[in-house]
Assembly symmetry: C2
Homo-oligomer: 276 residues x 2
């Protein structure tokens, strides 16, 4: 999916919500355990209940890998169930030397080889340019580079001062020489509200993937105040608040209600910003 | 496996060789294509031919993920085939927020959940302490943190100056507060020979996992000059030079010859250093 198509989807759905598909077998409703693959059934029902309210789905690969071979199969089948036209993010935080990153690109972008073809993958920046390059060779596929993350450990290295600025600023500044805003997004935690103004100065045109709303404590209003740009420029992720809105038989219905609440809030924000 | 057991293995095998199990279907001998799982058969024969000459095996997860569901199954079965008592490294370069890294720990350390229980995993440091912590909760399991990598992109961020030193030095200095040398190793590329003296000053007791010998151009002698410590402290990885020593029917035999050459060189180094 290219940037124009993504923005069109945002305008038509009046939403920039990304739903995080991070299921844990122990946390899904008990009535689903009768299915041959309860986690897949859970994901399918969540997707079916929210697909008109969000513009992206983001399965975090860790949740699938933790379930072994069956988990990897669930990841593939979850990707297959997401309707075409919705932006898909493999939240995999990969990155390796060039020839090995090319293998990761096959894993997540090359359906013929791996059974999956996400629109994008999250990548850790530590190994530099050649760890990112192979992903950029796929037309209309995206790298979403970790910049300033939502966790407490963000302060261990990301805020380190360098002669040119903080490390995360350097990650944005240097990586923007590798690709433009048609293929490169950044992860910026919603819990980092005060830094959004600064990030928009460095990356005015890039989409930002923003986790940390809800369970992690970030505020949508704070993020949008400085994060919005002329093409929206934000994909705001919510996982637990939506997928675990209820742990009963009404989980999908409650997930929809929660997603609808967020979509309505986003619609107001888009209207106020005159983007729709 | 704990550090003492690892050093005992090094002394008894007179080797600190790690064999990188990074198979690509297109590159494995044609006569293996008759097997139901050619890549698994390739790995098994490589393991059987080299297991008395190396102390560790390191499958890079990218090579398996690129083959989809069958690839993940091959990774699990490859781990199962490695004899107990040999150190196993999941070269996965993972790392996420704390509760998600706990899922990756399940994926690679918790056999009951995932079918695999490697001794160690490589982790990218960018997300900081809580991205590493969950792996350290497993007794006698290791985090191998990326410090100074072998690829060209190492210079994009790892050498950035901070007030306390280069970024990779900060990674070593700060992470050494999270765990001691009984659970923490560092990845240092063999192509970074001139930095080994400096790294040993910062991490005198930690094992270093050293890729980049052979195909990537690093020298074993250069690495050992400054890298060896009183418990050897080095695991030197070789992948392509061993596993593709021949692409014919004699591939396992030739892999053994190549591994034996490296083991003999390592034996001389260990003797010269009076470690055996």
């Amino acid at each position: 999916m290219n940037k124009k198509q993504l923005f069109e989807q945002i305008k038509s759905k009046k939403s920039f919500l990304c739903v995080g598909l991070d299921p844990v077998l122990e946390n899904i409703p008990k009535h689903l355990l009768k299915y041959e693959n309860p986690v897949l059934e859970f994901n399918k029902q969540i997707i079916d209940a929210t697909k008109d309210l969000c513009v992206a789905y983001k399965p975090n690969t860790a949740f699938y890998e933790s379930m072994g071979l069956k988990g990897w199969e669930t990841l593939i089948k979850t990707w297959q169930h997401i309707p075409k036209g919705i932006f898909t993010i493999a939240d995999a935080k990969r990155g390796d030397i060039g020839n090995t990153s090319a293998m990761y690109a096959d894993a997540f972008f090359n359906e013929d080889k791996s059974g999956m073809s996400f629109d994008s993958i999250t990548v850790a920046p530590y190994m530099g340019k050649d760890s990112v390059g192979p992903f950029l060779e796929y037309k209309d596929k995206w790298v979403i580079l970790l910049a300033l993350t939502s966790n407490t450990g963000h302060s261990d290295f990301q805020l380190h001062k360098t002669p040119e600025g903080k490390l995360y600023e350097e990650v944005i500044r240097i990586s923007s020489q590798w690709a433009n805003s048609e293929q490169l997004m950044y992860v910026v935690g919603a819990t980092r509200g005060s830094e959004f103004e600064n990030i928009r100065r460095l990356a005015p045109d890039n989409f930002l993937l923003v986790p940390g709303i809800g369970a992690q404590g970030g505020s949508l209003a704070d993020v949008c105040e400085y994060g919005l740009n002329k093409e929206c420029g934000l994909l705001v992720n919510s996982a637990r608040a939506i997928i675990y809105a209820s742990k009963g038989e009404d989980f999908a219905e409650k997930a929809r209600e929660e997603a609808l609440n967020v979509q309505k809030e986003m619609e107001q924000i888009l209207l106020s910003a005159k983007l729709i």
